[in-house]
C-alpha cells in the first residue's frame, strides 16, 4: 500500500471510489482484471442469450407452430448454441467470483501485514497513546472494511459492459424502441443508488445501536453480582430494553424504506417492459421487427433488472470502505517513534547507573525529577516508595521501554529483562510463553521454572505444553506471575527488573521464590519494586523513592534508623499487625 495519504470524504463519490480502488489495487491489479474479464464474458453472453431467444422464437417455435415444420438440424444448432452460451456465461461467473474473492482477500492480507508491522515497530510510548480496542479494530475490522468494495466491483464493472452491449443490441434490433429502453436505464440506476443511500443511513444507525447494546449487555452481565445484590434486576432490564428499543426503531426505519423500494424496484421495470411490448406491437405491425426480436427485447430487459441493482450496491460500499481505508492510513501515516532503547548508554559491567534522570508524561508534572543512583553489578536492590512515587516508571526507563525527558541510563544493553507488574500471557503453551520467540531448551525452561517455584506447571494437563492464555486453562494471578518470572530467568539476564512481581503469591511461596533467586542469581543485578517488608528485608540495599527522587539509598536497617519517612512507611505495615496482636491478646480471658 505504498500510496500515502487519506482520501478526503467530501469529494465526489465516483472520484473517491476511483482513488480508493487505485490505492487498494496497487499490488493486485492482475487478479482484479481477470475478475473484470470474467464479468465481461458474462455480460457478453447475457446479450448473446437474448440473441438465441430470438432465434428460438423466430427460427424454431415460429416455423413449427405457424408453418407446421422445422428442420431438426436447425433445432439442434440453435439449442446447441443456447447450451454453449449458457456454459460460457456460467464460466464467466466462476472466473469473476473466484478472482474477485482472491483480490479482496489478498489486499486485506497486505493491509493487515502493513498494520501489524507498523504496530510492532512502534515502541511502548506510542502504544501508551493508543487504545487497545481501537488498534485491534483497525488491524482487523477496518482492514476488511477497506476492501469490501472490491468484492462487488468486478460485477459492477461487468454491469457497465452489459449496459453498453445491451444498449447496442437493443438499438441494432430497433432504433425507436431501443432508444426508449435505453432512456430508462439512467432512471433505474438512479432509483437504485438513491435507495441504497437512504437505506444505508438506517443500517448504519442500526449498526451503531447494536454496538451500544453489546457494550451495555457486557457491562450489565459483568456486574451481575452487583445488580443482584442491590435487587436491581428489573431496573437493569429496563435500561437494556431502552437500548434494544432504539435498535428496533432503526431497523424498522430500514424495513419501511426497504419494503417500498423493493416493491418499486420490481414493479417499475415490469411496467416499462409492458409498455415496451405495446410499442413493440406497433413496430411488428409496421414490419420493422419480428416477433422473435420483440421477445428477445423483452427477455433482455428482464435480465437487466438484477445487475442494475449492483451498481447502487457497489457505490453504497464506497463510504464504508473509504472510512476503513482512512482509519488505516491515519495509523500508517503516523511517524515511527524512535525506539527509547536507543537512548540507553551501554555499560561494561553489570552495574546500572542513573544520572539526573527526569521523566514526565507529555510534559506534565514530573514523575521522576532528577534520579541519581549507581547500582553495582550483582547486587539486589529493593525500590521502595509510596504509590505514585515513580517506582514502575524507573524500571521502565532502565528497561529502555520509555525515553527519559533528560538524563541517562547506563546498563549492559541487551541483558536487561523486566517482569511486569501484571504479567501478560500469550495464547499458546506454557513453553511458548516462556520461550516467547526465542529457542529455549527444555532444560533451561525447567531450571527457570524451578527457580520461580512454578512446579505447578507439571501438574497441568499437558505439562509444559498446556495451552494457557485466553482460550487455555485458567491460571491464578500468582501462577501467571511465576510463569512471567521464568520467562525472564530463562534468558539469564545480566539485570533483572521485578515490578512487584511476587505480589500475588502467598507469603510462603514468595519467600521461597526470593530465596531461590538469591541462590540462582549470584551474578545478576536485581532491581525489585517491593512493598512487603519481608521482600524488602531480603535485598542488599534499598532505594527509597519519594516525590520523583531518590531520598535514600542504603541498607534497610540503616534507612530504618536514619530516614524517618522510610521508617514510617515500613512501620505502617508492621504496626497494623502489632496492634492487632495486642488487641487480640487483650481479649483473651
Amino acid at each position: 500500500m505504498g500510496e500515502g495519504t487519506t482520501i478526503p470524504e467530501s469529494r465526489g463519490r465516483l472520484r473517491q471510489a476511483f482513488r480508493l480502488v487505485r490505492a487498494l489495487l496497487r499490488h493486485h491489479k492482475r487478479t482484479f482484471f481477470i475478475a473484470v474479464g470474467g464479468a465481461s464474458v458474462f455480460a457478453a453472453c447475457t446479450v448473446l442469450s437474448a440473441v438465441i431467444v430470438r432465434l428460438i422464437t423466430d427460427d424454431v417455435i415460429g416455423p413449427r407452430f405457424n408453418q407446421g415444420t422445422v428442420s431438426a438440424r436447425k433445432v439442434v444448432v440453435v439449442l446447441g448454441a443456447l447450451v454453449v452460451v449458457g456454459f460460457v456465461r456460467a464460466a464467466g461467473v466462476v472466473v469473476r467470483r473466484t478472482w474477485a474473492g482472491r483480490t479482496g482477500w489478498r489486499v486485506t492480507e497486505s493491509i493487515t501485514s502493513e498494520v501489524i508491522d507498523r504496530v510492532t515497530l512502534q515502541p511502548v510510548p506510542w502504544h501508551r497513546h493508543q487504545s487497545t480496542g481501537d488498534l485491534i479494530t483497525r488491524a482487523g475490522v477496518d482492514a476488511e472494511a477497506a476492501t469490501a468494495v472490491l468484492q462487488p466491483l468486478p460485477f459492477a464493472s461487468g454491469v457497465v459492459v452489459l449496459v453498453v452491449l445491451s444498449s447496442a443490441w437493443l438499438l441494432i434490433t430497433d432504433i425507436p424502441l431501443g432508444l426508449a429502453a435505453v432512456a430508462v436505464f439512467p432512471g433505474l440506476i438512479a432509483l437504485n443508488i438513491g435507495y441504497q443511500r437512504r437505506v444505508d443511513r438506517f443500517y448504519n444507525t442500526a449498526q451503531e445501536e447494536l454496538g451500544a447494546l453489546s457494550a451495555a449487555v457486557h457491562e450489565s452481565f459483568d456486574g451481575v453480582a452487583v445488580v443482584k445484590s442491590f435487587g436491581a434486576e428489573g431496573r437493569e432490564t429496563e435500561r437494556l430494553a431502552v437500548i434494544a428499543g432504539r435498535l428496533r426503531e432503526a431497523r424498522l426505519g430500514a424495513v419501511r424504506l426497504r419494503s417500498t423500494f423493493e416493491a418499486l424496484l420490481d414493479g417499475v421495470p415490469t411496467v416499462v417492459n409492458i409498455l415496451l411490448l405495446v410499442g413493440g406491437a406497433y413496430r411488428v405491425r409496421a414490419g420493422e421487427m419480428s416477433v422473435g426480436e420483440l421477445t428477445s427485447f423483452i427477455y433482455l430487459f428482464t435480465l437487466l433488472v438484477f445487475p442494475l441493482r449492483l451498481i447502487g450496491f457497489t457505490l453504497s460500499e464506497v463510504p464504508h470502505s473509504l472510512a476503513g481505508w482512512n482509519r488505516i492510513r491515519e495509523l500508517l501515516d503516523q511517524p515511527v517513534v524512535p525506539d527509547p532503547a536507543l537512548t540507553l548508554v551501554p555499560g561494561t559491567d553489570g552495574s546500572v547507573v542513573l544520572r539526573d534522570l527526569h521523566f514526565s508524561h507529555d510534559g506534565e508534572r514530573d514523575v521522576l525529577s532528577g534520579v541519581d543512583a549507581c547500582i553495582e553489578g550483582g547486587r539486589t536492590v529493593a525500590v521502595v516508595g509510596a504509590t505514585g512515587s515513580g517506582k514502575t516508571t524507573l524500571l521502565h526507563l532502565i528497561a529502555g521501554l520509555v525515553r527519559p525527558t533528560s538524563g541517562t541510563v547506563t546498563v549492559p544493553v541487551g541483558g536487561v529483562r523486566l517482569v511486569l507488574q501484571e504479567p501478560f500471557l500469550m495464547a499458546g503453551s506454557v513453553r511458548d510463553n516462556i520461550a516467547l520467540g526465542s529457542r529455549a531448551a527444555t532444560d533451561a525452561i525447567e531450571a527457570a521454572l524451578a527457580v520461580a517455584e512454578a512446579q505447578f506447571v507439571h501438574a497441568l494437563p499437558a505439562g509444559l505444553d498446556t495451552e494457557v492464555g485466553e482460550r487455555g486453562v485458567g491460571l491464578s494471578g500468582g501462577q501467571r506471575q511465576r510463569i512471567a518470572l521464568a520467562r525472564a530467568l530463562v534468558r539469564q539476564p545480566a539485570v533483572l527488573l521485578l515490578d512487584d512481581t511476587t505480589s500475588a503469591l502467598d507469603p510462603t511461596t514468595e519467600a521461597k521464590v526470593l530465596a531461590n533467586l538469591r541462590a540462582a542469581l549470584a551474578n545478576t543485578t536485581v532491581v525489585a519494586v517491593a512493598s512487603r517488608p519481608s521482600t524488602i528485608a531480603l535485598a542488599d540495599d534499598v532505594l527509597y523513592l519519594a516525590d520523583g527522587r531518590v531520598v535514600a539509598h542504603g541498607r534497610h536497617d540503616e534507612l530504618m534508623q536514619a530516614v524517618p519517612a522510610y521508617r514510617r512507611l515500613i512501620e505502617a505495615f508492621e504496626h497494623d499487625r502489632a496492634a492487632l496482636d495486642a488487641d487480640a491478646a487483650a481479649r483473651l480471658p
Binding site: V93, G101, S259, V284, G437, A537
Partner: protein
C-alpha cells in the same frame, strides 16, 4: 459449549421459538397471502408475452388493440402486486423486529434473574453472545433469508402452477430435468458450509492473535519478541485469506449451476414442445411463455441454497437462545414470604452443601460440604481459607446469590428461601471482591444501591465513613467519572466506592468479600477506617484474604477444601496449632522485616 443447549430438532426449535416470540405468528397467514399476490407481479411478463403472441401476433396480422388491452390489464395487476409485495415485506419486517425486541428483553430479564451459579466466568461470554450475536443471527435471517423464503417461495409456487396450467407435460419435463439441480446444490452447499466454518475459525484466530499482539505490546517489546509474533499473525492472516478464497471458489461454482441447468431445461422443453407440435394443443405463445417461466423458476434456486444455510444458522441460534431461557431462574422468590424480624440479624448455617452447575450432566466436585455454624446478631466473623476452599462461595450463599445444593440457611431465624427478594436486599448487602462499577460518575454508582437518593444523603454517607478527605482528592469530587468498569479509579478506590454504596442500604448484615489486589498504604488505611465504621452495629461476615482482617474479627471460621475445619477466636486458633496457625506463621514471616 459450556452452556446448556436444547436438543430439539429444527422443527421443534422453530415451534418453540415462535411460542417464545409470539409476534412472529400474529397475522402470518395474511402476510403469506400478500406475498402470493405480490409474486403475481413477477409472472405477468411471461403470461402477457404468451397471450400477445397467441392472440395479438397471429399469422393474420398484428392486432395492436388486443395487445393494448392485455397491457392495461397487466398494468393493473402490477400495481396491485407491487402494493401487495410492499405490504408483505413490511409486515414480515415489522413482526420480526417486534418479536426480536421482545425476545431480547425476555433474555435480559431471565439472565439477570439466573442464579449467580449460572454466571460463572466461563459462561459470561456465552450469555452475552446469546443476547447479541445469537439474536443477531435471527435478525439477519429475517432481513434476508426469511424474506427470500417468503418472496421466492411464493414465486416458485406460482410459477410452477402457471407452468402446469399451460401444459402439464412440458411442466413435468421442466421439473424432471431441473430436479437434479437440487441435489447438486445440496452437495456443494455442504462443502461450502464447511469451508466457511473453517474460514470463520481462521478469522477468529487472526483476531485473537492481533488483540494479543496489541495488548501484550509492552511484554513483547521487553522481550524483543514483537517481530516473531508479527510473523505469526501474518502467517495466520495468510491462512485466513487462503481459506476464504477456497470457500469463495466453491461458492463461485455453486451460483452459476442454476444457469447451466436452465439451458438444459430450456433445451429439453423446446425439444419436447417442438416434437409434440401444435396438434397437442400447444401454442407458440405458450412455448415462448415457458421459456420465460423456466428461467424465472430456476432463478431463485441458487439463492435458496444460501438461504438454507442461513436458516440453519438461525435455527442453531434460536436453539441456543431457548437453551438459556430453559435454565430455571436462580434463587426463586418464595410464594409465601415471611418477614424478617426488625433489628440486627443472626445468620445460621445448617449442613450446607454446594456445587456449581456446569456443562449439562456432569456436576463439578462439591465446593462446600456440610458447613454448619451459628453467627449471632452483631458478631464480626472472618472466614478464611486458601484459594479454592469455598469461602467466596459461602459468602454468596449467605447473600442468596445462589441456593445451597443441600442444607438450610437462616437469617434472623427465617429460612433464607422464605425471605422475599426486596426484604433480603434491604437488610443484607454484599461488597464483592472486585467491586464492579458501571461507567458513569461516582454519584451515579452510589445511587445504584438505592435509586432516588439525594446528593446530600450521598455526601452524608461519605462523611459517615470518614472518606471526605479521599473524595476531595478526586478531580470532580462526587461527579468524577469512573470510566469503563471503574478503570479510572484504583482497585482500592473502587473498594471505597463499594463500601459507601453498601452503607447507603444500611443493612443489618454485611457480607464482605475482601480484595486480593495490593492497595497503596494510604488507601489501605482509608479502607480499614471506612470498614470499621460500616461494620459497627452490624452482623459482618468478612471473606478474609488478609489475616489482619481475621485477627481483628470476633471470630474466625476456617474452611479447607469445602469443609469447616476450625472455629474460634484468632488467638485460640493460633494457639491450637492447626490450619489457621500455619497460615498465620507464614503471614508473620512475610510481614516481618527483621
Amino acid at each position: 459449549m459450556s452452556e446448556p443447549i436444547s436438543r430439539w430438532s429444527a422443527v421443534e426449535t422453530i415451534g418453540r421459538g415462535v411460542r417464545a416470540a409470539p409476534a412472529l405468528r400474529t397475522g402470518f397467514g395474511l402476510t403469506l397471502a400478500f406475498a402470493l399476490v405480490g409474486a403475481g407481479g413477477r409472472v405477468v411478463i411471461p403470461i402477457v408475452v404468451q397471450q400477445a403472441i397467441d392472440r395479438g401476433f397471429g399469422p393474420a396480422g398484428v392486432k395492436v388493440g388486443v395487445v393494448a388491452v392485455l397491457a392495461a390489464i397487466a398494468l393493473v395487476v402490477i400495481v396491485i402486486a407491487t402494493f401487495a409485495q410492499r405490504t408483505a415485506v413490511a409486515r414480515l419486517g415489522r413482526r420480526s423486529e417486534e418479536a426480536l425486541y421482545a425476545l431480547r428483553v425476555r433474555l435480559f430479564e431471565h439472565i439477570h434473574r439466573l442464579s449467580i451459579a449460572d454466571h460463572s466466568e466461563e459462561r459470561k461470554g456465552a450469555l452475552v453472545a446469546r443476547v447479541t450475536s445469537d439474536v443477531e443471527t435471527l435478525a439477519q435471517f429475517f432481513q434476508w433469508g426469511g424474506l427470500a423464503w417468503l418472496l421466492d417461495g411464493t414465486l416458485m409456487l406460482l410459477v410452477a402452477g402457471v407452468m402446469l396450467a399451460y401444459d402439464w407435460v412440458l411442466a413435468i419435463v421442466a421439473f424432471v430435468v431441473a430436479a437434479p439441480l437440487a441435489f447438486v446444490l445440496r452437495r456443494v452447499q455442504s462443502h461450502l458450509s464447511r469451508a466457511y466454518d473453517a474460514a470463520r475459525g481462521r478469522n477468529a484466530e487472526v483476531m485473537t492473535q492481533i488483540s494479543e499482539l496489541v495488548a501484550g505490546a509492552e511484554t513483547l517489546r521487553a522481550y524483543d519478541a514483537g517481530p516473531h509474533y508479527a510473523r505469526q499473525v501474518e502467517a495466520a492472516s495468510h491462512e485466513r485469506s487462503n481459506s476464504f478464497i477456497r470457500a469463495g471458489t466453491i461458492g463461485a461454482f455453486l451460483f452459476p449451476s442454476g444457469e447451466v441447468f436452465s439451458v438444459f431445461t430450456v433445451s429439453a422443453v423446446v425439444s419436447v414442445g417442438v416434437l409434440r407440435g401444435p396438434s397437442s394443443g400447444l401454442t407458440a405463445g405458450a412455448m415462448v411463455g415457458f421459456l420465460f417461466l423456466t428461467y424465472r423458476f430456476l432463478e431463485p434456486i441458487a439463492e435458496f441454497t444460501e438461504v438454507l444455510d442461513q436458516t440453519q444458522t438461525a435455527v442453531a441460534g434460536m436453539r441456543r437462545v431457548l437453551g438459556v431461557l430453559e435454565i430455571p431462574i436462580g434463587p426463586p422468590e418464595p410464594e409465601h414470604p415471611l418477614p424478617l424480624p426488625a433489628g440486627p440479624l443472626a445468620v445460621t448455617l445448617d449442613r450446607i452443601d454446594f456445587s456449581y452447575r456446569t456443562r449439562g450432566d456432569s456436576d463439578e466436585p462439591p465446593v462446600l460440604m456440610g458447613v454448619s455454624a451459628h453467627i449471632p446478631a452483631g458478631q464480626q466473623v472472618a472466614i478464611v481459607g486458601e484459594t479454592g476452599s469455598g469461602k467466596t462461595t459461602l459468602g454468596r450463599l449467605i447473600a442468596r446469590l445462589a441456593d445451597p445444593t443441600a442444607g438450610t440457611l437462616l437469617l434472623g431465624g427465617v429460612p433464607l428461601t422464605r425471605v422475599s427478594n426486596a426484604d433480603l436486599r434491604s437488610r443484607l448487602t454484599v461488597v464483592p471482591q472486585e467491586p464492579f462499577l458501571f461507567e458513569g460518575s461516582i454519584a451515579a454508582n452510589l445511587s445504584f444501591a438505592v435509586p432516588g437518593m439525594s446528593l446530600a444523603q450521598l455526601h452524608d454517607a461519605i462523611d459517615s465513613l470518614d472518606l471526605r478527605d479521599w473524595l476531595d482528592t478526586l478531580p470532580d469530587g462526587i461527579d468524577t467519572e469512573v470510566g469503563q468498569r471503574g478503570s479510572q479509579l484504583s482497585a482500592g478506590e473502587r473498594q471505597l466506592v463499594a463500601l459507601i454504596r453498601a452503607s447507603l442500604v444500611d443493612p443489618a448484615v454485611l457480607v464482605l468479600d475482601e480484595a486480593t489486589s495490593s492497595v497503596d498504604a494510604l488507601t489501605e488505611v482509608r479502607l480499614a477506617r471506612a470498614l470499621e465504621w460500616l461494620a459497627t452495629g452490624r452482623t459482618t461476615i468478612a471473606i478474609a484474604h488478609r489475616l489482619s482482617t481475621a485477627a481483628r474479627a470476633d471470630r474466625v471460621l476456617v474452611l479447607d477444601h469445602g469443609r469447616l475445619v476450625e472455629d474460634g477466636t484468632h488467638l485460640e486458633l493460633v494457639q491450637a496449632g492447626g490450619t489457621y496457625a500455619r497460615m498465620y506463621d507464614a503471614w508473620v514471616t512475610s510481614t516481618s522485616a527483621s
